[in-house]
Symmetry: D3
Subunit: 164 residues, 6 copies
């Protein structure tokens, strides 16, 4: 499974890029977020804020590698209404990640697993796959999640990879 | 002081008018709120919400007497981008209110007082007056508030209107 | 254009269905919203709230016709983690709506138009079409919107449907 | 287990009581919420809102039986700074609830279970118990939850109460 | 128009000053914001947050040049209730800005224009002027915006400054 | 009173640690916050955000000394569901603080006082003590606060420590 293994590491060359938007059609936001992810943003999120004169604005946040700043800025300037952006230097500590698989009644499904100092600390069913299963098999999404989580734990315990 | 006295009462003919806005320039919101207050709205406020496709929208809320619904609707339809509004019936319980005055180092200032079942339960310095005093006399706004509150309490205790 | 005309009207048989969620994986929310729209909800939106013990919860809101309450409830109970829902009676005032078309450099695009008491008060380019044009032609989404709006206004003024 | 069984039902005599607070020390809010729960409120939650002049206010919401309105109002008027409250009529649809128990490595723990039309749709470990176990046994809270959920499902499947 | 031209630039000596407020009368916030802008803050905004014990607090954010830190701090310490502030270093990328004018039925109005790498990417009618026109001429604010935007685009296209 | 005096200072070795959570049970948040405070965090707060695909997430923020980063990270990785955290360097300017006491009808109560450049700028009754008094003596919390504030001001003025 080494092909999908990514080592735990700290990346000290990240930027948190921010733009406060108080005069933009909110309808455009999801489109802008998609474009930013496509351009290599590690994360994109919005924070509801209150701006000058009590305006209900939105702060766009983009977490991105320093080397990609300029392409992120191009998107923000061309797709939003802002006249300025700011960025702050950030360090990102990312867990080692693996994608494992469990056999379920609906076929094999993926579980994203996170390791901190060699210890399994996170595991989460892949949202898109579970969503697809829920739709196709007409079963509540929360049941799909529950089942995948149970099967993953059972599988790990068999291998003694998880303490009982 | 009967000229400014308003009896405690329940008004069962109020409407809570709501419009979800996801494609409107937020810059316009404060202007719309001002117009709604001018048209007789009892209260106007905004709630940050998440709408279809994850859009960061704003829910406009107007509390208004049933008789004024149509003028409120006219403003919302002409000044915002919504294609529909909804309203719910509400009852408003309002305290008896009096405006009293205290002598302060900066001249007489008004205190809004609320009575529930004849008992003084609320008192608050008038924001606009305190703000003006703070600006003119270059004193922190919070000190003006504090002083007005202390003087009001002292005045009430002298008259035994407030328990020590 | 009468085929797509819907008269302005007030619908007094609507419900605002609400569920406060403080122990649910937020990842599931968009899936739940999609299912609620599919089941005939007129609108679905989320409000960030603070619940018991300071928990950061989400209030799910569904605006729906009284006749569809039970299918909406079935989805909420099976797809979320709530043990109860509440609903309030609401009236919806909806504008007359028409879908018109403008010729653009990227082909014909749709504009949703709203009329209040016979007067054109709203018009908005269709988001999905504009988004598709922006992607395919690699032009900023905000420019597509701007162009569609300008062309629509020009077209209306030629017909004297809009005051210059 | 009939002693803790509560039938699924709709209660049409509920009120949603609301007060917008824009001049109150937020530090007091949790105390007020506790008092409201003590006085019989079914639910209490806060919504961040934007009020007149762009003030960052909080809307206090209390869901309560009609018969308890007056004691709820007394608390709001004496403990907050509001000069008025409003209330809207609401219906509450509550699932049948049972409290069941599972044997865990840390002793027996409670699971709250919800039934809709006789079908088990919800189950959730009791937060307070899990929190106590996590603290005492120094184990991550999320692991306690996971374990309780797995054991509950296993127990139900043995009894064929849950489809495999 | 060179008199109002500001070149596009990156300013690496900015600070993002933050204070979390959980025990302050929100009524004072707009006054504090005004004072901070008067003292030279480039931007001031508020973020609704949840603080210790679940309190609904507000994070005050001030974007300011390093050289003005101390006067900003003086205002925050004297006008709010905080016992501490924090600041983070930020870089601001600001577009070249020009103020241009368009002739409208209500007289000449200003448009703020932003250039990124020499290309016009933003233009926005001046809010205060549009608001005044809307009030005086009793026309919806959104129509004033629309008209100014159309006239600006028309003017630019005549000069071939904007691609058709 | 020197035993509880802390000098005003700027600490340049602080970190603002952030994790965006979009797939975690919000019920766990207060427990996590408690653990982070126990591990030496100076402040912990949550920001409601909108994440990828429109998910209503929560950004966990921890303000902490650089030397404690690793124990804070251990808690976040073991108690939340995140696969990564980020941190930004921050400076904290903290006022000189003293705890003083006032005699009240309910016994002596503590007031936290803040000094900026030797000048008293803040004072706040201790929440936990006031809350306890309010509960035991069945008096509104806001009255306890008011009384403590008045007594503190009176005491300071007698000593000429506060300008009248």
């Amino acid at each position: 499974m080494s092909f999908n293994h990514r080592e735990e590491h700290v990346d000290d060359h990240m930027l948190l890029v921010q733009a406060n938007l108080d005069d933009m059609n909110p309808e455009w936001m999801t489109y802008v977020m998609d474009k930013l992810f496509d351009a290599g943003a590690n994360d994109v999120y919005m924070v509801p804020i209150i701006m000058k004169r009590g305006r209900p604005g939105v702060m766009l946040n983009v977490l991105v590698d320093e080397g990609r700043l300029s392409s992120i800025e191009d998107i923000i300037f061309s797709e939003t209404t802002t006249l300025g952006i700011r960025y702050l230097h950030a360090s990102c500590h990312r867990l080692a990640r693996e994608f494992e698989h469990v056999e379920t009644p609906w076929g094999p499904l993926t579980v994203k697993v996170g390791y901190h100092e060699g210890k399994l600390v996170q595991f989460a069913p892949e949202f898109k796959e579970c969503e697809q299963v829920a739709r196709i098999h007409d079963v509540p999404l929360k049941k799909v999640y529950e089942e995948v989580r149970m099967l993953f734990i059972g599988q790990k315990r068999e291998k003694n990879a998880l303490p009982k």
